[in-house]
Amino acid sequence: MAQPILDIQAITTCYGAIEALHEVSLHVETGEIVALIGANGAGKSTLLNSISGLNPPRQGRIVFDGRDVTHLPPEEKVRLGVSHVPEHRQLFSTMTVWENLMLGAYHRYRKTPKHQLDADLQRVFRLFPRLEERISQLAGTLSGGEQQMLAIGRALMAQPRLLLLDEPSLGLAPLLVKELFQVIASLRDQDVTIVLVEQNARVALDIADRAYVLETGRIVLEGMAATLRTDPRIRAAYLGGHMPETSKQT
C-alpha cells in the first residue's frame, strides 16, 4: 500500500494547562475523506490545530507526505499543501469576499500567473456561485452559510492537498448543510484529501470513507464510515439513538 498522506503517531497536545489529546494516532490515505466525530470538548478541534500547526503537539510525530512536519508553523504548512478551515470560520471580516479569496492564494501569489489565479477563482465560484454574487461585499456582512462557503473557498484558493474542515455545518440550516456537504464530497474528485471534524455525525458519516471517534482526547473507535453508521454504540451516542432518519442537529 502507498504511504498515507498524513500519518499521526501518538501525539499528545495540551490546550492551555489541560491535556486535550492523549497519544492519538491516526492515518489518512490520499484521496480519502476521514471524519473525526465526538462530543463537544473531545479534542476534535485540537487535533486539527495540531495538524495545521496552530497548536503543535508536545509529544509524538506528524508526518505529512513522508515529511516530518510536527513542529512546522501553520504559515509553512500551507505551502506544503495543508489548508485548515478553522472553527468559527475566522474570515477577514472587514475585507471583501474577493480579498478573502485572494488572500487564500497568498502563499503562491507571486509564483502563480494571474490567469491561473483567475481560473482558480472561477473554480471556487463554480462550487459556490453565491460567492460570485457577493464578490465585493465585506465578509462580515455575509450570512452564516455564505461565510462557511467563503471559508472553504478561501482554503481551496491555497490549492491544498489536505483540507482540514472544522465543523462546517455549525449554525447552518439543514438544507444548507446538505448542499454544503455535497460540495465537500465533490472535492474528493479534485484530488483533495479531507479531514472533517463534525458534531453532526450523521452528515459526516454520509460522505466520509472512514471515521475516528474521539472521547476525552483519545481515539476510542475507528472504522469504515459505512460500518460505523450501523454501529449501535455510535447510533446511541451520536446519531440520536433510535431515530436514525432525522438529524439531531440543525
Binding site: 504559515e75 500551507v78 478553522p86 475566522q90 488572500l103 487564500g104 497568498y106 478561501r154 491555497a158
Partner: protein, 343 residues
C-alpha cells in the same frame, strides 16, 4: 441600511449633550481668553493654520503608531525617535563634505531618501532585537521595552549630535530663509506647503498600498485576524517587520519635512512621539483615517490654546485631551463611547 443606522448612532453618540456642552464651554473659554488679547477671526485662522502644520506631523507619527499597533498589538513609544533620526540624519548627510559639489536640491533629495532608508533599518533592527524576542510578552512589557528603546536611541543621538539645535534648508528656497506667502492677512510659510503636500502624497500612496497590493492586504489581514492570516501562509513575524519599517519611514518623513520649520535636536522625538500617541488615541488607536483627523485636530487645538494663553502652555492641552479621551472615550473620538477596544 444597517451600516447607515450604525453610523447615525455613532454621530448621535459623538454629539451627545455632554460633548456639545463641553464644546460650547471650551469655545466660549477660548473666545473669552482671545478677547483679552483682541483676537479677531484672522488670528484664529492663523493659529489654526500654524497648528495644522504641526498637526500634520502628528498625523504621520500617529499613522506609525496605528500601523504597528494593528499588526503587532505593540504600542511603540520609540515612534518619536524615528522623526528625530529622520531629521538629524538628513541634516548630517546634507552637510556631508563629499556631497558639497552637488546641486543643493539633489543633495537635499538624496539626503532625505537615505535618511528615510537608514531610519527604516533602525526600525527593522528594533523589531528584530527587542520586539521579536518578546513576541508573546504582555502589552505592558512591550511598552516598557519600547520606552527603553526610545531612551537608548535618544542617548545615542546625544552622543552623535550633542545638545545643539541643527538646521535644514527650506525646501522652496534651499536656504535658511523660507518664503512666506501672504493671503489676506494670513501668513503661510513655504515649508508648510511641503509638509502638507508630502503628507498628502504619502497618505494617498499608503492607502493605495494597503488597498491595492497583495502585501498591503496581507498586512491588513494580519491586523484583522492573526490566526487566519497564519493559515493563509502570512507570517506574522514578517508582517511585524514590515510594520516597523513602514512606521519608521513615516516617522522619518515627518521629521525631515518638519526640520526646516523647527530646529531639530536630539530630544525632539519625545514630544513628537507623545503628540503622535495622543493623536492615535484620539482616533481610537486602530483606525488610520481617524488617527490623521486626530493629529490635525490636536495640532490646531493645542496651537489655538497656546495662542489665547501662553506659548509655554502648548503641551498642557495635548495631555488634557489625552486624559479626557482615555476617561470618556477610550475607543476614540469616532468610536463608540464607553467601550474599551479589544487588544
Amino acid at each position: 441600511m444597517k451600516q447607515w443606522v450604525k453610523r447615525k448612532d455613532r454621530i448621535a453618540a459623538f454629539l451627545s449633550w455632554r460633548v456639545i456642552l463641553m464644546l460650547i464651554l471650551t469655545a466660549s473659554l477660548v473666545l473669552l481668553l482671545g478677547a483679552r488679547k483682541n483676537f479677531g477671526w484672522q488670528q484664529y485662522v492663523q493659529l489654526t493654520l500654524d497648528g495644522l502644520r504641526g498637526g500634520t506631523i502628528y498625523a504621520l507619527i500617529a499613522l506609525g503608531f496605528v500601523t504597528i499597533y494593528n499588526i503587532t498589538g505593540v504600542i511603540n513609544f520609540a515612534q518619536g525617535a524615528f522623526a528625530m533620526l529622520g531629521a538629524l540624519l538628513a541634516i548630517t548627510i546634507d552637510d556631508w563634505a563629499l556631497l558639497a559639489a552637488w546641486p543643493p536640491a539633489a543633495r537635499l533629495f538624496v539626503a532625505s531618501l537615505v535618511a528615510i532608508v537608514l531610519t527604516m533599518l533602525v526600525g527593522i533592527l528594533i523589531e528584530r532585537l527587542t520586539i521579536a524576542p518578546a513576541r508573546d510578552a504582555e502589552p505592558l512589557t512591550h511598552i516598557i521595552i519600547t520606552v527603553g528603546v526610545y531612551i537608548v536611541i535618544q542617548g545615542i543621538a546625544l552622543i552623535i549630535w550633542g545638545t545643539q539645535p541643527y538646521t535644514l534648508p527650506a525646501f522652496t528656497t534651499l536656504a535658511q530663509r523660507d518664503v512666506t506667502i501672504r493671503l489676506g492677512g494670513l501668513i503661510i510659510k513655504g515649508q508648510s506647503f511641503w509638509i502638507w503636500g508630502t503628507t498628502l502624497v504619502s497618505m494617498v500612496l499608503l492607502y493605495w498600498f494597503f488597498e491595492h497590493t497583495m502585501l498591503g492586504r496581507a498586512l491588513r489581514a494580519c491586523a484583522v485576524n492573526r490566526t487566519a492570516a497564519r493559515l493563509m501562509g502570512i507570517s506574522p513575524s514578517r508582517m511585524s517587520l514590515f510594520a516597523f519599517a513602514l512606521a519608521a519611514a513615516l516617522g522619518a518623513l515627518g521629521g525631515i519635512v518638519l526640520a526646516p520649520a523647527t530646529r531639530p535636536t536630539y530630544d525632539m522625538g519625545l514630544s513628537l512621539g507623545l503628540k503622535g500617541f495622543v493623536a492615535a488615541v484620539m482616533g481610537g488607536m486602530t483606525n488610520p483615517g481617524a488617527a490623521v483627523v486626530g493629529g490635525l485636530l490636536l495640532g490646531s487645538i493645542e496651537n489655538i490654546g497656546a495662542g489665547v494663553t501662553r506659548a509655554g502652555f502648548k503641551d498642557i492641552f495635548s495631555f488634557i485631551i489625552l486624559i479626557w479621551i482615555l476617561l470618556f472615550r477610550p475607543s476614540g473620538l469616532f468610536g463608540r463611547p464607553h467601550t474599551v477596544e479589544k487588544v
